[in-house]
């Protein structure tokens, strides 16, 4: 008789009753081993996770309703005063605008470029691994390093980008002056580091698409572009949603790149590129030294990410199942046609 489960093998293993057997100490020990071990194995993680992850999240709520300065420590309970104060600060609203703008400028082109690069990689290439590693290379450059490199390339005076633009007759752009230009510069840093990474995720999804679907599409007379639009995109829908959600969580938290975009790190002379996370940092640890307010900003940022994440989730579900490519019904019908043809042979 075979053992069914790893949990209590003893009972199954016990030989047919010959004589009453004494339950030995080692057996009791073994039973306890089986019962307690799972909890022992997860407890180091959960104990540490509770202290460093969960407790701080809950405690943020407590701090956010108290007067709490960096140096003086905890003060009186002030209700929602910190939130009201944050709402009254012009910088908060500027930071929301900047974060949203940088987020859109970084996520939309990034997802599109990543899908296109993945489509290039999703072929019978020579030296596959080389190309895959090639597109991933920027991932090992730290965001701070990317920020410093691009900050220099996008310099207003004697910057490489402005010079290149000069060759094609474009006037120098004030990358560190105009809000939109600075957002484009910062978004390009984010795109530099993450496009290749996301392309590999899309590539994995594309390779999981059943090849029969392409064969069916070819039988129906679809060319390469049509195959991409009608088979590939609908098939990797779940991955597109996944990437957009992670891009939302990451994109609204951008800190490193704007922090090093100039030498002061304050988000620009008129806060052109002050992101919400940078604003959170400035409120807590440089300038206002107000931890109560910083905690309030943390909550607001969390709610914002949650809201945008939800909007994106529903929007992408809609788009992916609606306008682009054939509907589920059409796909099923096409598949049926294909099956019918096969069977009729």
């Amino acid at each position: 008789m075979s053992v069914q489960s790893p949990v209590e093998p003893e009972s199954d293993l016990a030989p047919a009753p010959r004589q009453p057997r004494r339950v030995g100490f080692s057996q009791t020990l073994s039973r306890w081993d089986v019962k307690v071990s799972p909890y022992l194995y997860i407890s180091p993680f959960f104990i540490l996770f509770f202290i460093t992850g969960l407790f701080p999240i809950l405690y943020t709520g407590y701090v956010s309703v108290h007067k709490w300065q960096l140096l003086q420590g905890q003060g009186d309970f002030v209700g929602l005063q910190n939130f009201a104060d944050v709402f009254k600060q012009k910088d908060f609203w500027l930071s929301l605008r900047n974060s949203l703008s940088i987020f859109i400028l970084s996520s939309v082109p990034q997802v599109i470029a990543a899908i296109l690069i993945a489509a290039l990689l999703d072929q019978n290439l020579r030296a596959k691994t080389f190309w895959r590693m090639g597109v991933l290379l920027p991932y090992v450059v730290a965001p701070v390093a990317v920020g410093l490199i691009f900050g220099r390339m996008f310099a207003d005076q004697s910057g490489l980008i402005n010079q290149l633009l000069g060759y094609i007759g474009v006037d120098p752009i004030g990358w560190h002056v105009s809000p939109l230009a600075s957002h484009v510069a910062i978004a390009s840093m984010v795109n530099f580091r993450w496009t290749g990474y996301n392309a590999l995720i899309f590539l994995a999804a594309m390779q999981a698409v059943p090849r029969e679907l392409y064969e069916a599409a070819i039988i129906d007379g679809a060319g390469r572009v049509r195959q991409f639009i009608s088979v590939t995109i609908p098939q990797i829908r779940a991955t597109i949603i996944f990437i957009i959600i992670t891009a939302t969580i990451g994109g609204l938290q951008i800190f490193d790149e704007p922090r090093v975009f100039d030498s002061t790190g304050s988000g620009g002379a008129s806060r052109q590129w002050l992101t919400t996370t940078l604003y959170l940092y400035n409120t807590g640890w440089s300038g206002q030294y107000n931890l109560g307010r910083a905690a309030a900003i943390a909550w607001l940022l969390f709610l914002l990410i949650l809201a945008i994440g939800m909007i994106n989730f529903f929007a992408t579900q809609r788009i992916a199942s609606g306008s682009s490519g054939p509907s589920k019904k059409q796909r099923k019908a096409a598949q049926k046609r294909y099956e019918a043809l096969r069977k009729s042979a």
């Binding site: 701080p56 597109v135 090992v140 701070v144 039988i219 490193d256 090093v260 096969r342």
Partner: protein, 304 residues
């Protein structure tokens, strides 16, 4: 007419498939070797990734006067690069070797602990049955969506209470475990570790821990190596939390390099030399383990 359905009817399914594959090759299906322009496009993509790194070498070989006059003072790096490396290493603003040591210590300890605790918990979640298993796992995965910023204020308050501000443990301890690691190892062990092996070990009288140590741990090795790699990279480039709890006298590398930029007069040849020094270890790591990074990203994607 020689359409594929016709072939299928006259010559059977296999012939139709072969025909489809032939057409497939003609119209550009999967089996065909791609056209040269695909390689050219990919080459451009890779080049875009390389150019900024090359740019750091060129600017790092220059000097502040030339940089102020011309956006690209020279086309190739030269020996001044090493002078600038030396200047970064000897910089007054911070101790370079201290920053390097700090970064290595943080990245190594955090990677090791993440792998150990994640594998333990992942083994329990993937292969052991116990009350509360599903709920705890779902809960852990759900917390992955919560941004790190949400916890930084209280975490800072705790670190200040412990008098850890300015010390390395303030960076290490909060990073010792992560929900992603547990999710990752659970996913992997669920598939890679057959129940039969665990049963065999138990039948042979191995304790639960012995089973974990001799059976689960070796089976988990490929995923553990990838988790260690990703954790190492993430810690090496980490900037936000260290810039809250560390100061200029005891920085990690990203903080130190940032200090080069904070002078009243910024010498970008030094900044870029520093940026390259900071990136170099990861470039070396990438040369040896880039394949694993690629595989790790692609493996995580199929399941995630």
């Amino acid at each position: 007419m020689n359409s594929i359905p016709a072939i299928e009817q006259s010559a059977g399914r296999g012939a139709a498939r072969a025909a489809a594959r032939r057409v497939n090759r003609k119209v550009g299906g999967y089996d065909r070797r791609p056209a040269p322009f695909i390689y050219i496009l990919l080459g451009i993509v890779v080049l875009i990734g390389l150019l900024p790194i090359y740019y750091t070498l060129v600017i790092g070989s220059s000097d502040p006067v030339s940089i102020a006059q011309k956006p690209l003072p020279q086309l190739f790096p030269d020996a001044s690069l090493f002078t600038n490396f030396k200047n970064v290493i000897d910089a007054q603003a911070f101790s370079f070797w201290r920053a390097v040591t700090n970064s290595v210590v943080v990245a190594v300890i955090v990677s090791a602990s993440t792998v150990l605790f994640s594998t333990l918990a992942g083994f329990a979640f993937a292969k052991l049955r116990f009350p509360g298993r599903r709920g705890l796992l779902v809960f852990t995965i759900a917390t992955m969506a919560v941004p790190t910023q949400l916890g930084v204020v209280p975490l800072y308050i705790v670190m200040a209470k412990l008098n850890w501000i300015g010390h390395l443990q303030a960076v290490i301890v909060p990073a010792l475990v992560g929900a992603f690691g547990v999710f990752w190892m659970t996913q992997y062990l669920e598939e890679a570790l057959p129940y039969e092996l665990i049963e065999a070990a138990r039948v042979d009288g191995a304790s639960m821990f012995r089973t974990f140590w001799s059976i689960a741990l070796p089976a988990a090795r490929p995923a553990a190596a990838m988790l260690a790699l990703f954790t190492f990279v993430a810690q090496w480039v980490n900037f936000f939390w260290p810039s809250i709890v560390l100061n200029n006298t005891n920085p990690t590398l990203p903080l130190a390099i940032r200090l080069l930029q904070q002078n009243y007069f910024v010498d970008y040849s030094l900044v870029m030399a520093g940026v390259f020094l900071m990136t170099l270890p990861l470039l070396v790591l990438f040369a040896f383990a880039g394949r694993q990074l690629v595989a790790g990203i692609m493996a995580g994607a199929v399941k995630g």
